[in-house]
Symmetry: C2
Subunit: 100 residues, 2 copies
């Protein structure tokens, strides 16, 4: 199975970007213990602090899918939901490069 | 100075995505020797092999800007240009997470 990557674009409700980013940083802390998680980076869009982008890289898609079943992850998703106006995932097939 | 990240979305002319990805993988090889380059990952969009996304993470924006002056990088840009229909950069302020 090949590696799996995605960008998650989270649009926060107006003024809620920073609070959402803090929850996603907690999710990133959790991800450090997840089997197969290689990158989980939280970024604010340079031109809009209410748009948060998450860069994910996983050993394979199964590892990513398994992480969504984790109880701690689901608790964070529940806390984040009220802050989120919309989510737009960009699914990727990583080919290589520095950090692959 | 804080870290600097961006996603570069490259739309290749129809059928040219794979050729463009190969050139970007060469750029990624070069980037391994660039001061301050922490990630330079080449990805194909899962749903369109003519859309290539580059994930970049740099020590700071100055290191990113300096890399664009590199002669080898400029030569690769020249080779890639005829394959590219459009470029859409997403500029990011990295906040933290796994791989930061």
């Amino acid at each position: 199975m090949s590696k799996y990557a995605m960008y998650g674009k989270f649009q926060a409700h107006p003024g809620k970007g920073s609070e959402l980013a803090q929850i996603l940083l907690e999710a990133a802390e959790q991800s450090k213990s997840f089997d197969g998680c290689e990158l989980y980076l939280i970024n604010e869009a340079a031109e809009d602090p209410d748009t948060i982008w998450v860069t994910e890289l996983w050993r394979d898609e199964a590892a990513h899918d398994a992480s969504l079943q984790n109880e701690g992850a689901r608790a964070l998703i529940s806390r984040a939901m009220p802050l989120i106006a919309g989510v737009e995932p960009v699914k990727l097939r990583p080919l290589g490069g520095k950090g692959y």
